[in-house]
Amino acid sequence: MDLRDSDSSVPTTAKIIIAGGFGAGKTTLVGAITEIRPLRTEETLSDRSVGVDDVSGVDNKTTTTVAMDFGRITFRSDLALYLFGMPGQERFWFMWEELSYGALGAVVLADTRRLASCFASVDYFEHYGVPFIVAVNCFDGAPRYDPTDVRIALDLDPSVPVLMCDARHRESVKTALIGLVRHALTKTGVPESELAG
């Protein structure tokens, strides 16, 4: 498939966001499917980006850095998919904007022990029209919820797919990503102006 109007030697890149609260398994999920172990890079936060509640104790510090995990799947020499773990805390909202820009969609990884940690990212993707699915991470020992219960707890739109996922297992992660891309395909055709939020 020719993805470019010209010069087919130029690689096309795409990205999918893996969102979820702290400890939900984002890095595990990225590592389960990407060809490289999750890489880490840093983004600098300026003081205006940092919430007042979460950095108490970091006195007089005007900038800090936040680690950002990502992984890559190269399908062909000219097509690579990047998976970015999105920090779940709301104070990283400025990174959400950056990560969401041009993203194919997002997988919200839900930890049933802490479902509330998904609220902020679900709200964000709904508001900005980023296609997303909810993948309930089946940790050992975590409560096994019915997808319907998760849907109700997160107050999801009926069109948002909810599926079970084991972030440690490649096939399970692959199924989740395929589910997201299929869902995103159902959303295309909507005028860009409506998607842009």
Partner: protein, 98 residues
């Protein structure tokens, strides 16, 4: 957006322009040269930042300098194409083939 120029997306692809090697008179910083050396093949901004172990924001500033000097080019297609059905279908094919 940084004052120095365009904002580079995380998965924008950059590559060293095919011209002659930069003149010593350009007074490139070691960080510029380090980055340039890694751009001989097309590479994404985020991979580059990870390889040179610098924050994304710093890499953006350095890349901005290099593109303004015409030493590095951005290859990525303009925004808007990214959400096309073609791209989604290509990624779907790729995932299903894993």
């Amino acid at each position: 957006m940084p004052a120095t120029g365009r904002r580079f997306g995380l998965i924008d692809v950059v590559v060293a322009a095919g011209g002659p090697p930069p003149s010593p008179e350009l007074r490139l910083a070691p960080e510029h040269r380090h980055l340039l050396a890694r751009c001989q093949r097309p590479v994404t901004v985020v991979d580059l930042a990870s390889e040179v172990d610098l924050p994304i924001g710093v890499v953006r500033v350095l890349l901005s300098d290099l593109t303004e000097l015409g030493i590095v080019e951005v290859l990525t297609a303009p925004p808007g194409r990214i959400t096309s059905r073609r791209l989604l279908n290509a990624v779907l094919d790729g995932l299903e083939g894993l």
